[in-house]
Subunit: 272 residues, 2 copies
């Protein structure tokens, strides 16, 4: 197997969690003799040095977000957040793709860790990124927030769901709002996107106009949902006592979606 | 195994290609005794009848678009285009996921064909949808079009590439334009999306502003590329003799991307 150059560096991880040093992701020199087949190339740093992750995952590793993995976004520069996200998604994907889904034979990492190949049947397998829509329905100056059964008490957020084969982003937004809350929408507008590497989603944040505020909840998915006005959203984002709900954390795209909606409907107290 | 109700209908396919009858997708009654485990539920028609697809795929079936599969978009209603796209993506996915990527054991279709389960290790596997960015870089009234080596002579289109783990839509647009054409962009703007079930992409169409028109092509990916002005795009979309390139077909999101750009930069001759 080819060896990798000795200027290369390797991301230090604690399981799937990041390790931080002085405001950056912790790195170490890639050991001489490291096997390229056990590593994924994550990118090139500003000094031209390649950055690798060891593909040391285990299929049973939880892909769920942890305080350390969520918190890194506020600590390291944006390009390092992307490096960490890619590492986390790739390690988890490799750990769960040791075998070929076409024929059941073992696969091996190729293309600097961005693919796996099956020598038995010749199939190539690629890491997946799952598009997810996350959206606010808007009706007469209020937006819809809901909560899942498993969330901490008081936490509400934008509704969300996977984009299914055969549909557009806009159709996925309309389908999910109708399936989960019984709300019919039009005029779906894209606002922003965010990778969510737990394990490998692409969050696509949208706002849509609801024709009616009647709710019919799918109670297997959604425990509760309600329409909240700009004052309520402002109080929740500011984490005020007496806010009508507890907002998602500022690193979540749902926080920004609520913030962007608020900026669009009402001047903030600071700018008024 | 559970049987499905006898009002149900089944999509008639020719391999992975659609079959059309009187402006609609051809359907047949689901045979009595059909095994739900061999079928995927695609949706419910306007009469409340479930529509299924037989999971009759083979791993070697080509996922590539054919004249019949591309053309169906102009023949049947939009909701049937979505049904066909879902059927095509699901059949191809099931055919290539008969084995568990975690442990190599056989898997079986569950959840009405929207998942596969491994009884050996307990893993659940879900159909994938791959987000792809497709984009125009714009510079002083011109946009960048390029061609791949395999395309028909004269055909040019918007550049495109898969969104990678760890990046936003906007970062993917900037990375792909830089990697494939050496063009640096800012102000990435989302325009529209389209499912592309060959086998299972979600095309995310954007426009971005280039700072410079110098090109450095990645010739493994792009055979040629050039900047074209509004007159050239108009001639190409109208399929005029003497147009500077042959545009993608009107069913492709790239056609609409060029058309939307044109509508934004210059009044059309008809509306002027």
């Amino acid at each position: 197997m080819p060896h990798v150059c000795n200027r290369a560096r390797r991301l230090i991880l604690d399981g799937l969690d990041p390790v931080e040093r002085d405001g950056h992701l912790a790195m170490e020199p890639l050991p001489s003799g490291a096997d390229a087949a056990d590593h994924a190339l994550l990118g090139i740093d500003r000094h031209g040095r390649p950055i690798f992750a060891a593909l040391h995952g285990h299929p049973a590793m939880s892909p769920n977000a942890t305080p350390a993995s969520r918190g890194i976004v506020d600590i390291v520069p944006a390009e390092e957040v992307a490096i960490y996200g890619a590492a986390r998604s790739l390690i988890h994907w490799h750990a769960r793709h040791g075998f070929c889904s076409v024929c059941g034979a073992p696969t091996r990492a190729v293309k600097a860790g961005w693919s796996r190949h099956c020598d038995a049947c010749g199939a190539d397998h690629f890491p997946r990124t799952d598009p997810v829509v996350i959206m606010l329905a808007e009706h007469r100056g209020r937006v819809l927030v809901g909560r899942q059964h498993s969330w901490a008490q008081g936490r509400y957020s934008a509704l969300a769901g996977f984009v299914e084969p055969g549909e557009t982003i806009e159709e996925a937004v309309a389908r999910e709002l109708f399936e989960e809350a019984g709300v019919r929408v039009r005029d779906v507008r894209y606002l922003m996107s965010q990778p969510w590497p737990f394990p490998s989603s692409l969050m696509i944040a949208c706002i849509a106009q609801a024709d009616d505020d009647a709710l019919t909840l799918d109670e297997t998915e959604i425990e509760a949902a309600f329409w909240v006005d700009a004052d309520g959203v402002r109080a929740a984002l500011a984490d005020e006592d007496g806010a009508p709900f507890q907002a998602p954390p500022p690193m979540a795209v749902a926080w920004h979606l609520l913030d962007r909606w608020l900026a669009g409907v009402a001047p903030s107290p600071a700018s008024a």
